[in-house]
Amino acid sequence: MSEHHHKETFVTKYIFSQDHKMISKQFLITGMIMGIIGVFMSMLFRLQLAWPEKSFSIIEAFLGPHQTDGVMNPDMYLALVTIHGTIMVFFVLTAGLSGTFSNLLIPLQIGARDMASGFLNMVSYWLFFLSSIIMVISLFVEAGPASAGWTIYPPLSALPQAIPGSGAGMTLWLVSMAIFIASSLIGSLNYIVTIFNLRTKGMKMTRLPLTMWAFFITAIIGVISFPVLLSAALLLIFDRSFGTSFYLSDIFISGEVLHYQGGSPVLFEHLFWFLGHPEVYIILLPALGITSEVISTNSRKPIFGYRAMIGSIMAIAFLSTIVWGHHMFISGMNPFLGSVFTFTTLLIAIPSAVKAFNYVTTLWKGNLQLNPAMLFSIGLVSTFVTGGLTGLVLGDSALDINVHDTYFVVAHFHLVMGVSALFGMFAGIYHWFPKMYGKLMNKTLGYWHFWITIICAYGVFWPMHFIGLAGLPRRYYTNTNFPMFDDLADINVVITLFAIAGGLAQIIFIANFFISIYRGEKSSQNPWKSNTLEWTTPVEHIHGNWPGKIPEVHRWAYDYSKKVDSNDDESDYLHGDDFVLQTTPLLDGEEPS
């Protein structure tokens, strides 16, 4: 392939590229643009929550007809939280994260010249691009974008009489998501096939870096659960446009009885959360995979418990498909089902705990190289623990009753999947930037970016748990109609200040990213002294990745600081340095780890 590739034009190289490295950059840039939109929206509605009656010219500027004298309308508030959720969950943390790093790393880390199907890979990106465009267009329809919450529960999402956003805005939302799902499925199938079939000689499944395991399992969960969301969306389209009654029954609205008979919104909830919960792990597992790699490399230590890590990824993946009901304890489904889902949900704590403990043990007695990527990975472990622990409250049906749909939930999932996954994404960008652009990102800006972001993340979401425990429901435009929540006003102001600071801090990152592309320090071939295969490719991208033959793999990815005498920590390194590339053959008498 590399020997006889044809001349590329601008269009085939930069736009309709079939090269996985270029496609990964396309995913990343698109994801970043969507991320800027999503974060900006959150800053707008945080303004509303902190100062409900205050006029802001920035709101007047951006919300046009959906505001009155600089105060956003209630409909628009709901639209903002809806689109913020949709964009961050799907467009940034699914496509932006998995799309970028699965594409970049799968061929490079398993030793393949490209994805199994470069063409489908290109189609996957362009479908994602199309769905992003449609989602952005939906912001400009007259009645406003979809505003029934990112979970789009019917009947609210089905009836334009119930909320204006359920008109054209919701139609565009559904079309956009349907295309997005197609993109995701094509991508995931490609990842699975590639990892199964295109591993280089010697790259046994048990020698794959944990990033590969994470992306592999993520793709499998995606293939299992995304089609269910597609079917849910299709049935909703039927109900909305063709008069069927899958989700609707006995409705009286705007002074008339509608014809719908016999459907149930609970059916939609089941279908939605059958994707919705695995989706959490579709977001999180790649971030954890990146973290495993970054922590191990920068600790100069093997990841602790490699097999246990694989086992827990598999356990999490399996359990993730049988816990969706914990979003529905009080939906009206049979209480017995609630018992079952409580049981399966709390079981997830076990593999999650194993992962957290293993990360901490990997840090123990390491020689930590505190690069920005490493700090973000450590930050991920921290927020993953903080957010994960409150899952024990929410997963327990008896306790969930009182915190369901309050800010306690908002704090929980933002920490455990939002912030954690973003940190994983940042860690990945700082770590593999040299592989993408041949340059290194500036570390000083990286440090500032990290510390401001983690302080703001905790400043936003730690106090938020408590306003949830005070009983404040989420998705309230304002809580000024409830005197019992008056004492939460100050906390809301503090949260908003942290949120704005944290949002603005991302400018540091974006500036660093683009400046480094042009002016960053030129990277050497293996800047982090890492073991994995991607660092054996030349710094300048070439089609087919390796100039000559694809190297053969002789060991696992984690032989960091391997010593002559395995019982003496101070003895000399077995291979003369504290890392050993996977392509290095075993020495005579060397035990494989």
Binding site: S299, T361, Q369, L375, T386, L389, G471, Y476, R519, S566
Partner: protein, 334 residues
């Protein structure tokens, strides 16, 4: 135009940032021992920040929390919550300490060598089994309590229908026979706003009200209906919540433990009320008096944030007096 102005400002900030970073040193972008030392210290500082913030919130925000459960069934919820919260609190403090202290302690240095430590079945066994045992206990207690709450088999319970629509709550008491008449959206007409089937014998003595009155110490059996979109009847003080689903009837039950008056005398409630009234006075608003509330807690449209119903818990004899005063549906809807 204003949006363009903001975008222009954003671009200007970006460009000036670009200019500022020109003077930054882009050489040496890999962490050195000096960086490791500095960032290790930062990790320690951050740990201190995190601890202070966590402890401060835990103490300072105690006063804004919901008061103790006002339903008998909710007692075990509070209990289970406290156990869970202490447990995760302890784990949280230990884990954050380990994460950031290790970051500081084992910060990289050219002189140091990392320990090659890839596996320990003993350790992994310990931290698989320990969480498993703890979880078995939590799950056990949780499921026992869940069954407790969801058990609505008490025949003596007072049956009340809570009815939701955009954006208001209504309620219907089952009357003398303690049986609700059938309801369906097709019967909604004029003052029959809840769509009660008036040909049903059970409907005649039902009583429609706009505020809930509950007797202390009697089990209440709620049945929820919605006429348009999903709503959720959230009664945080009673640790009670259930979605209202168009097309089906959902249920929940609890036994009020304190009257509204008694609740107002609770030290926790008094303290919270004083705090709230200080804020309200500063804004020149009427003082707040504690009341139980039913809030909508499922996104339901533009006025979702203002969908509430007052709940008053009274002594049983007072309740009897109140319910006797309410007109039956038969007398209202002819």
């Amino acid at each position: 135009m204003l949006a363009l102005f903001y975008i222009f400002i954003g671009v200007a900030i970006g460009v000036s940032f670009w200019q500022v970073t020109r003077i930054l040193n882009f050489r040496g972008s890999i962490a050195t021992d000096k960086d490791n030392k500095k960032q290790g210290k930062n990790a320690l500082l951050f740990l201190v920040f995190l601890y202070i913030m966590m402890v401060y919130c835990l103490i300072a925000m105690n006063v804004i929390m919901l008061p103790e459960s006002a339903s008998i069934e909710g007692e075990h919820d509070d209990n289970l919550f406290n156990i869970t919260f202490w447990l995760i609190g302890v784990v949280q403090f230990i884990m954050q300490f380990l994460i950031f202290y290790f970051t500081f302690k084992y910060r990289g240095n050219k002189e140091n060598k990392a320990k090659f430590y890839a596996d320990s079945h003993k350790l992994e066994f310990i931290w698989t089994v320990t969480p498993a045992i703890v979880l078995v206990l939590l799950i056990g207690y949780g499921l026992w309590q869940w069954n407790n709450i969801m058990d609505l088999s008490d025949d003596d319970a007072i049956v009340i229908e809570v009815y939701s629509q955009q954006f208001r709550w209504d309620a219907r008491y089952a009357g003398e026979d303690n049986t609700l008449g059938l309801g369906n959206v097709n019967y909604i007409k004029g003052i029959n706003t809840m769509g009660v089937d008036m040909t049903d014998r059970n409907s005649q003595d039902d009583k429609q009200v706009t505020e809930l009155y509950l007797p202390k110490g009697r089990k209440i059996h709620f049945k929820f209906r919605s006429q348009d979109v999903l709503h959720s009847a959230y009664m945080p003080h009673f640790r009670a919540q259930m979605n209202c689903v168009p097309g089906m009837v959902t249920e929940f039950g609890f036994t009020p433990k304190y009257t509204t008056e008694e609740m107002r005398q609770q030290p926790e409630v008094i303290e919270k009320t004083i705090g709230i009234n200080k804020i309200r006075k500063a804004k020149g608003e009427d003082p707040y008096v504690f009341d139980y509330l039913l809030l909508c807690n499922k996104i339901c449209g533009a006025s979702h944030y203002n969908m509430q119903m007052k709940i008053t818990v009274v002594e049983p004899d007072e309740y009897e007096k109140w319910i006797a005063e309410q007109p039956t549906l038969a007398s209202v809807i002819k």
